[in-house]
């Protein structure tokens, strides 16, 4: 046991107390987190202005309406308005950040500048107008049938064609689409003798401010998106923490083997002691990653007054399933590292295991939407998937997972950890002394049985 200590410390020191780790795993997240909050504003970019003439063929009233809409109403801030609406669903802290001068100016930059003229013509001008579009004289030409203005158009009638010039940006196209369809609707409403402005205000769907009643009294704003994101955030957290350290473990074992330092270590400690020391050393590294990223997430939730979305039992589950996942992945990585001589061979051995382990990532949605569904229950009893699927289930916002299922998953999972560590230590014991060609998975199984 006294040999495990120095091995653990060396493994930890040469992974965590290095510039690369400190910058990559500690400094970067600290800077990335505030950036993510400001991300919507930073992504908003000023678009090229929309300049030119749009031809509307076959419907003079729509052309008139479009001309009016284009000039009467400021339609240019469509996506800026969407952003503001999205912001309204965000917590106060993010809304506060959005009032920042820099972000605010980013939002106004998002407004589309345009100078759009509308022309109209009869159906005989279609070919000529199309040629003008090709010649870049027109932005586009909309060809309409009067049927489109019917108050009750059939689905066949409720359409028209729009021909646009090549290279028109999606944002410009969206703007023109909205302008034309709004104009058609407004003409229909007016033709029916109704007041369009009144109809539109009546049709506006009310927004709901959902509030969650807290157990200890009080109420907080409920953010559906946050509840949806928590399961995948927890699973990714466990993934990042375990696979980052697992990868370090893999490369350090390969390095010790290819440097021939392994035999020196073996003269001082048993293979089990070496493997244990290395795995425990990397466990601390993994824990730092978990605390770093998890801690930032919790700080963010506290800032949004959403800390109660993560009750203490969830943190306990996170730790338990993290430990389970880490020791499973670490023992696989250490044994594969011991069996091969370079990273390329390691990747071909780990490949199949990775395909299995990536399943929970693919199945995130169905599992977190229905944490007690058949898929979720079945996959949470398959040993390598247990920690990842269970963390999705226990953090999902649906019906709580029955405790007996959690207990079975914990017992089965930790039994699997012990079995995997035993098998992997057998492989490690033989693998560290092997040189040359990488073994096949079948040979690895044979090594388990070697005396």
């Amino acid at each position: 046991m006294n040999r495990i200590g120095p091995i653990t410390w060396r493994e930890f020191k040469y992974t965590a107390l290095t510039k690369a780790f400190i910058i990559g795993s500690i400094v970067v997240p600290i800077f990335i987190f505030p950036l993510m909050i400001l991300l919507p504003g930073l992504f908003a970019q000023k678009s090229d202005p929309l300049m030119g003439t749009l031809m509307i063929i076959g419907s003079e009233p729509v052309a008139v309406q479009a001309e009016r809409l284009a000039h009467e109403v400021d339609r240019a801030g469509g996506s800026a308005l969407q952003l503001q609406q999205a912001m309204a669903d965000m917590p106060d802290a993010i809304q506060q950040a959005a009032t920042d001068p820099m972000l605010g100016s980013a939002m106004t930059q998002n407004k589309l500048e345009y100078d759009l003229k509308i022309e109209s013509a009869g159906i005989e001008a279609v070919d000529e107008s199309k040629q003008r579009v090709r010649d870049q004289d027109l932005i586009g030409v909309a060809v309409m049938n009067e049927d489109v203005l019917d108050s009750q158009p059939t689905s066949k009638e409720n359409r028209f064609e729009l021909f646009v010039r090549p290279g028109l940006s999606p944002r410009h196209l969206d703007f023109i689409d909205d302008l034309l369809t709004d104009s058609v609707v407004e003409v229909r409403v007016k033709d029916s003798g109704m007041d369009y402005a009144r109809v539109r205000s009546m049709m506006a769907r009310p927004s709901i401010v959902t509030k969650r009643l807290q157990e200890g009294g009080g109420e907080v704003r409920e953010y559906e998106w946050a509840k949806r994101l928590i399961p995948i955030a927890f699973m990714i957290l466990v993934w990042i923490a375990t696979f980052t350290s697992g990868n370090y473990l893999l490369t350090s074992t390969i390095e010790e083997k290819s440097n021939k330092v392994m035999e020196v270590l073996l003269s001082a400690a048993s293979p089990m002691e070496i493997m244990s020391g290395k795995i425990i050393g990397q466990a601390f590294v993994s824990l730092i990653t978990l605390v770093m990223y998890g801690g930032l997430g919790i700080i963010a939730l506290v800032a949004m007054s959403q800390a109660d979305l993560i009750p203490p039992r969830m943190i306990i589950y996170l730790l338990l399933f993290f430990i389970m996942a880490y020791f499973m992945i670490a023992s696989i990585m250490a044994s594969v590292g011991s069996a091969v001589s370079d990273l390329h061979d390691a990747q071909s051995l780990i490949g199949p295991a990775m395909i299995v382990l990536i399943l929970p990532m693919i199945l995130w949605m169905p599992i977190s939407e229905s944490p007690n569904g058949t898929l979720a229950v079945v996959t949470s009893y398959i040993p390598p998937l247990i920690p990842f699927v269970m963390i999705l289930r226990v953090t999902a916002s649906g019906d709580p997972v029955p405790f007996w299922q959690i207990a079975i998953a914990l017992i089965e999972g930790f039994a699997a950890v012990l079995a995997m560590m035993w098998m992997c230590s057998r492989i490690f014991r033989v693998g560290v002394l092997m040189q040359g060609k990488a073994p096949s998975p079948l040979q690895l199984i044979k090594w388990i049985r070697y005396r």
Partner: protein
């Protein structure tokens, strides 16, 4: 009665279809300086790794320093044939790390590292990274790592390879010194003259079997000298036909090497030569360890028609 440093009883080890070690038994008393010899792939490293409890025998038992091999790890110093250091680690830190693994306290490991670096004339490199050192220096560092914990049993695999004569002599003197202090030293090599100079007892292993286990003097007695070295005086020449001689090889200016027939009496043959022609010198040459090694291994190849290789990586 001297107690055993190492005792192997009917030790057998296979790697799949390769029979690496075949029913080996031997006893090495404490304080012995033993040469463990054999051709490449003979099973030396496998045997040493079993002694080190890095791998375990399929059959038989191994006792090291009176107990199990595993419990004796802190009393064994091992220099593997393939040198290995952490490239990025600093020399002093590496030595302290190995010292700690070998059961030394932090303080003792630091003191021992400093002492041995000074002794090996390497005190200036304590703060350097291992990758910055020359190959010879790296080997000396690894040698220190094998003895830093003051072990009772030392096992060196090819300790002098890659060293210049000055450093080889320095290491040689340390090994002799440690042996003089009563430690058991086993060193494995295929450079026979080194073993001959250093060891008092020799074991020869071939294709997993122990084919020789004797003291140097015992080997000299057992293996009759079968070569006469003769240097005729100026102008004289050896008679063409000498009774009891089955072959001759010219040694250039130094005369001839004559191979004795199996049944020939060396002293009679030498008398015969002296009487037949004037000689400047004549002597019966002792069989070197090289001769013994080649003789034994060659005879076994002739007997079995097999070469003796364990596949790379099997051991």
């Amino acid at each position: 009665m001297t107690s055993s440093a190492i005792r192997l009883e009917h030790v057998d080890k296979r790697f799949g279809s390769v029979h690496a070690v075949r029913d080996i038994s031997f006893d090495v008393p404490q304080g012995t300086l033993l040469g463990f010899l054999g051709p490449n792939g003979a099973g030396k490293s496998t045997t040493i790794r079993m002694i080190m409890s890095i791998i375990y025998p399929d059959h038989g038992s191994i006792s090291v320093l009176g107990g199990s091999a595993l419990s004796a790890k802190n009393s064994i110093g091992y220099l593997p044939e393939e040198r290995g250091l952490y490239r990025k680690m600093r020399v002093g830190e590496f030595l302290r790390y190995i010292g700690r693994l070998k059961g030394l306290s932090q303080h003792d490991a630091r003191a021992a590292a400093t002492k041995w670096l000074a002794r090996m004339e390497l005190d200036a490199v304590e703060r350097k990274r291992c990758e910055e050192l020359s190959k010879g220096m790296q080997q000396k560092i690894q040698f220190i790592a094998s003895i830093i914990h003051d072990p009772d049993l030392l096992i060196f695999d090819e300790p002098f390879s890659g060293l210049d004569p000055v450093n080889a002599e320095l290491m040689n003197s340390i090994i002799r010194e440690m042996h003089a202090q009563g430690r058991t030293v086993i060193f494995s090599t295929h450079v026979m003259h080194q073993a001959e100079q250093l060891c008092e007892r020799i074991m020869l292993i071939d294709r997993g079997q122990l084919i020789l286990d004797d003291t140097m003097s015992g080997i000299h007695e057992t293996f009759d000298p079968r070569t006469i070295e003769v240097e005729p005086s100026n102008g004289s020449s050896l008679p063409g036909d000498i009774e009891g001689i089955v072959g001759r090889t010219s040694s250039g200016d130094r005369g001839w090497e004559l191979q004795l027939a199996d049944e020939a009496d060396p002293h009679r043959v030498m008398n015969q030569i002296v009487q037949a022609c004037p000689v400047r010198s004549i002597r019966l040459r002792r069989p070197s360890l090289d001769d013994v090694f080649v003789m034994l291994v060659r005879d076994r190849v002739h007997e079995t028609g097999q070469t003796n290789m364990i596949p790379e990586g099997a051991s």
